[in-house]
Amino acid sequence: MILNISQRKTIKHWATGLFAWMVALTLFFPILWMIMTSFKTELQAISQPPLLFWEATLDNYALIQERSDYLKYALNSLYTSVGGTLLALIVAVPSAYAMAFFPGKYTKDILLWMLSTKMLPAVGVLIPIYMITQMGGLLDSIYPLILIFALMNLPIIMWMLYTYFKEIPKEILEAARMDGATTSDELRHVVMPLSWGGIASAGLLSLILCWNEAFWSIQLTASDAGTLAALIASYSSPEGLFWAKVSAASTMACAPIIVFGWFCQKQLVQGLTFGAVK
């Protein structure tokens, strides 16, 4: 059968659409299953074959709220995420400005080196960081977490901002300098307004990564400074794994960031694909 161009286009259109939906559903399925499980009883949760229809219950949520204060964990997550992100931005904006507009001989090397630290396993520095935190009397405190979150996301934020700043034509900054702008004028009135989208999306990404961080949160906190990740982890022990409750806890931990991501998705996509300045 010979197809004309418009028929071929239609087929291509539908095929791409189908493929995209399949990928999206595959990615979404675990989250859907988690949410479904959170509304089952423990028995329904482990039944074979899995139940697709059942009478929903809110017992798991009630139980979790009863056993541990959800709001406290959520606030800890919020403080550490926002704190870590702000700290990282405060360091990254001036550094990325310097690297983008006054590159030295080793600027590229430094940037690559920063990124390479992301390739090391975090567990490699678990003992020293744990010891330092312990000696500082800062176990189960949000402050070391804020610092660690900031450092952890700094390479990515630096790279994103660097790429954004690079897109600002150098002459615009030179024009500002000729107009009498000091370095801080340049940053405040020219660089930041022009790369606002980039700074916002770097910040959003960092917020999400901080919110979802589990390794350090679980290692360094307990009941006082525990984040939502630590809350979820607390349901896997010691009595064994309770699927329905873990699912309910996870759903509560994910819900804010999913809602947040939903509202910011345009900004995030723009930020991750770069090149929005011109």
């Binding site: 034509p169 002459e171 615009i172 030179e174 024009a175 500002a176 300098r177 000729m178 107009d179 009498g180 702008a181 000091t182 004028d185 009135h189 020219v190 307004p193 022009l194």
Partner: protein, 355 residues
């Protein structure tokens, strides 16, 4: 009061010696054009004056103030960039008032100055627009407005017209000339376009490989180029050069004696309009004819491989491939030595001096 003085200025970029000991003095109110082939250092020199590049050696002073180490922001100079470099997130009025706002001027003063400048440049209807909603010519006007609004000591222009199309370039060139006349401000203008240099400048500075080749009025550098480089760079088509062979020597000796200092001459230079088809004594083969309407350019091969351009009258009766006879206007001919320096005395005349 604000003479700009440059002395023994040097600039190195790593291994590249871009500016090689430039001395220059620019008087208040002068329109000075830096011209030269690409890579000659003209833009670098402007950026050194602006303070956008660090000086490697030498001094720049404005009036009695040494500004060599003063940051660009405090030099009291304004610059217009080739790419306009408008602030994309600000509208026209904000772009023009940015410097005033940074300097902490009052709202009334800013409004007054922006309005005055907008009136000069016919930008009033555009004050609320963002740069992306403007045409190239309008953007360039805003960039110029941004400079004017501050009343700087010196205006710097870095090839400001080269992004415009040909018609707009001519129009903006005329507007710039009018603007200079109106503001009576010191302006330094970088271009590779010799028409802009000739038409705008009070003083032309011709640069070559990081050094000043010649400084003079447009007519001075046209009629009295100090070197073969300048002679070839200024003027279209460029000056013709005849090797001092037997034919040329005989020709010069046979014609009326003009002291052109020929003993050490290696080349004789004559502008296309100084070669006459109604004079006799030299021969060439026509290989191209360009009839431009007002005039006709005739290109000849002279001797073995010497290319000669002649500016002839509109209806000059020449045909392709024929061998024609021509002669030189000996009053307007220069001699140059082997290295390219001019030997012949300057062509003087009250007119050249006064223009």
């Amino acid at each position: 009061m604000s003479t700009l003085n440059i002395s023994q200025l040097h600039k190195h970029f790593d291994d590249f010696h871009a500016i090689r000991g430039i001395n220059l003095s620019i008087e208040e109110g002068e329109f000075v054009v830096f011209v030269g082939p690409s890579g000659c250092g003209k833009s670098t020199l402007l950026r050194l004056i602006a303070g956008l590049e660090d000086v490697s050696g030498g001094n720049i002073s404005l009036g009695d103030r040494d500004i060599t180490q003063v940051p660009a922001a405090q030099r009291d100079l304004a610059m217009v960039f080739q790419s306009y470099a408008l602030y994309p997130h600000m509208n026209v009025a904000e772009n023009m008032s940015f410097a005033l706002r940074l300097a902490g001027a009052s709202k009334e003063e800013i409004a007054q100055k922006v309005a005055d400048t907008a009136a000069i440049l016919q930008l009033e209807p555009l004050l609320d627009r963002k740069p992306k909603a403007l045409s190239g010519g309008q953007r360039q006007r805003v960039a110029i407005g941004r400079a004017i609004v501050r009343h700087p000591s010196v205006f710097l222009f870095d090839e400001p017209l080269s992004n415009l199309d040909a018609a707009l370039r001519v129009q903006m060139r005329q507007e710039l000339a009018a603007l200079h006349h109106r503001l009576q401000a010191t302006m330094i203008y970088v271009t590779h376009d010799q028409v802009e240099a000739m038409t705008l400048a009070d003083k032309v500075v011709i640069l070559n490989a990081g050094q000043v080749e010649q400084v003079g009025t447009p007519m001075d550098v046209y009629y009295n180029p100090e070197s073969r480089f300048v002679a070839e760079f200024i003027g279209t088509p460029k000056m013709n050069f005849f090797p001092m062979d037997e034919t040329v020597t005989n020709y010069l000796n046979n014609n009326e004696k003009v002291d052109r200092n020929l003993e050490n001459a290696a080349w004789i230079g004559a502008r296309p309009e100084s070669i006459m088809l109604d004079k006799k004594g030299m021969f060439g083969t026509v290989n191209l004819i360009e009839r431009l309407g007002a005039e006709t350019l005739v290109y000849l091969t002279y001797g073995n491989d010497c290319q000669i351009a002649i500016r002839a009258s509109s209806l000059a009766p020449v045909t392709l491939g024929e061998t024609i006879e021509f002669g030189l206007d000996l009053e307007q001919v220069h001699s140059f030595d082997e290295k390219g320096a001019r030997l012949s005395p300057a062509i003087t005349g009250d007119l050249i001096k006064s223009l």
